[in-house]
Amino acid sequence: MKNISRQFISVFFTTLILAACGTQVSRVDVEEKHDLSGAWNDTDSRLVSEEMITDMLGRPWYRTHSKAHKTVPTVIVGTIRNLSHEHINLNTFVADIERAMINSGKIDFVASSQERSEIRDERKDQDLHATESSRKAMGQERGADYMLKGSINTIIDVDGSTQLRYYQVDLNLISLKNNRKVWLGQKKIKKVIKNSKLRF
């Protein structure tokens, strides 16, 4: 009996020590804000895309288009350039923008040029191999009315160990018919990052 309790205690302590040494992972909600280094992160990407797309859909160009064409506008996402001081993952930002647009239900959305070429290849393949009834014909693609382009810019000001980071995201919606810019959106984020001068 005494032996068992001793074994139990040793196992308990070993587990405790191992637990303290191992990598710790805790799951957090994606909506939660976590700022670690002060760099552009998932929260910035999500909030900026949601706010900007909401702004875009509430502006006059939308009503003008709906009145004139009696359909919802079709949009394509073009290049969004990273002109900032950081290596920002633009793929997640573009995905966030696309998600915000589709989920609004107010916009028809066509695949990007890269995705389109893959789909065209598939249609070519269907032409040869698929049955008559399931085959999708060429030349039925929906053309976009507008292209969304933009950039992420930063201004950084440093004084000693304090850094001020100012992000500006600009998005333009351009009519493919006549190159008119129908909407310009801008979102700014300001972060103050204080680095400690001492560490252990």
């Binding site: 900032s84 001081h85 001068k197 001492l198 560490r199």
Partner: protein, 449 residues
């Protein structure tokens, strides 16, 4: 009596073993680099990379591990992996830039190598430059632009902490920024960067042992015209004795090859030990200081040639003298390093003396430990080249074979290389680089000014 002697020997013996162990364990950083250097001298970066990965690394030297790996990977054309290593090194700078109380204490009592190494200012700037060059060769110009913005922030913070420091004006970083802005069609930013590069080359002509590159003079004239600064363009034309019309004709509707040549290996730090009279105690103490040795393996320059319907050829010009900057950095820091080493030696000597008064043998052991741990900090980024040279050549678009001729001081060809099938698109820039670190002979100590 006899028993006493045996007892003493039994104690002294482990002392010597301890001494040997310590000496063995404390080989200075640059000594551990010998095999990697040999592989580079033998034109074998792949072998050097294997050796680097096989060597053991102290956690304090991880910056150098990642930085060395980045250069070796780019020598092998593995630019993407090279940039991953550079990002690791950047994270180390960020994490360990604040000073640590524990490390400073250890540095005071043991030696300077107990600190986490975060690179000298020149090395930190070079990280961004190599990342930018890697991105350019990967044709990711926007990402290269991110790097030159980061280098600007870093140079500004150097400027803030030490406005007179020559390291806060890096002319090549500015020149490369100009090229990248020009590539992206951001003319006014390109103009500003070229101007800053010109000012930096001018201000540090003496310090950098560098002439203002002819290609920068040409870029200033062409860019001034592009942004409509006619008066400035004329000023440069007069100053540099160059004609805009000639330059414009050569550049007209051509694609451009931008070639960087990474020449030789930067100097290496070695340990110098000396006896010094400590003014405070009047006793002699032994201190170890780092000193730079040149690794004389650079060649004079390259000539690059393309044979099309016409001949296109140019030679590389020195645009960054890394070796010289490294030596200047050590010169700047040497008074502080010497003062620290002396204070440390005096403290170690005092502890040994006090211990010796209580127990002779213990005093001896403390003294041995103190002397054995006194090592100079010889850490530096050893795979960096000694120089960066650059050439810009306007060529027609299409597929070409590039001939590279390595020239000595008398303009004689010492070796030749060919790069086949380079594809340059219409009105685009193509970036290529070439590393040469072979046939080194280590020689004399560089004189400290």
């Amino acid at each position: 009596m006899c028993h006493h002697r045996i007892y003493q020997t039994a104690l002294i013996l482990p002392g010597y073993i301890l001494l040997l162990l310590l000496l063995n364990g404390c080989a200075s950083y640059s000594q551990t680099h010998h095999s990697i250097q040999q592989s580079l001298f033998n034109h074998n970066p792949a072998r050097a990379l294997e050796q680097l990965e096989k060597n053991s690394h102290s956690n304090n030297d991880l910056f150098l591990y990642h930085a060395d790996k980045a250069i070796l990977l780019r020598m092998l054309g593995r630019y993407k992996e090279s940039n991953i290593e550079i990002e690791h090194a950047k994270k180390i700078i960020k994490k360990f830039s604040a000073s640590s109380i524990i490390e400073e204490g250890a540095a005071f009592f043991i030696n300077d190598s107990t600190r986490v190494y975060i690179g000298s200012p020149v090395e930190q700037v070079m990280l961004h430059i190599y990342a930018a060059l890697n991105y350019l060769e990967l044709k990711q110009t926007d990402s290269a632009r991110v790097e030159i913005l980061q280098v600007d922030t870093r140079l500004r913070s150097f400027m803030q902490s030490d406005p007179d420091s020559p390291f806060s004006f890096d002319p090549f970083a500015r020149y490369l920024s100009g090229i990248i802005y020009e590539d992206l069609g951001e003319w006014s930013d390109a103009m500003i960067a070229y101007r800053k590069a010109y000012e930096a080359y001018l201000a540090h002509q003496e310090l950098y042992h560098i002439e203002i590159p002819g290609q920068l003079k040409e870029s200033l004239i062409l860019m001034a015209d592009m942004v409509g600064l006619k008066t400035e363009r004329k000023k440069y034309e007069k100053m540099f004795k160059l004609k805009f019309t000639d330059l414009n004709a050569a550049q007209d509707k051509q694609s451009e090859l931008i070639f960087t040549f990474h020449n030789g290996l930067a100097p290496i730090k070695k340990e110098h030990s000396m006896q010094m009279l400590a003014p405070a105690t009047g006793r002699f103490v032994r201190i170890s200081l780092p000193a730079y040795y040149e690794r004389n393996n650079r060649i004079s320059k390259l000539r690059i040639k393309i044979r099309d319907k016409d001949h296109y050829s140019t030679t590389t010009e020195l645009t960054e003298n890394i070796g010289y900057l490294a030596i200047k950095t050590l010169e700047d820091h040497l008074p502080a390093i010497t003062a620290r080493a002396l204070a440390r030696a005096v403290a170690k000597d005092k502890i040994a003396k006090d211990s010796g008064e209580k127990n002779q043998l213990f005093g001896l052991l403390v003294n041995i430990a103190g002397v054995a741990t006194e090592r100079a900090d010889t850490r530096s980024w050893l795979t960096l080249p000694d120089e960066i040279q650059t050439a810009r050549l306007n060529i027609p678009h299409g597929k070409h074979t590039l001939a590279i001729e390595l020239l000595n001081d008398n303009n004689q060809i010492v070796s030749q290389k060919r790069i086949e099938n380079i594809q340059i698109d219409k009105n685009k820039k193509l970036y290529l680089s070439f590393h040469w670190a072979a046939n080194g002979i280590e020689h004399g100590l560089i004189k400290q000014h």
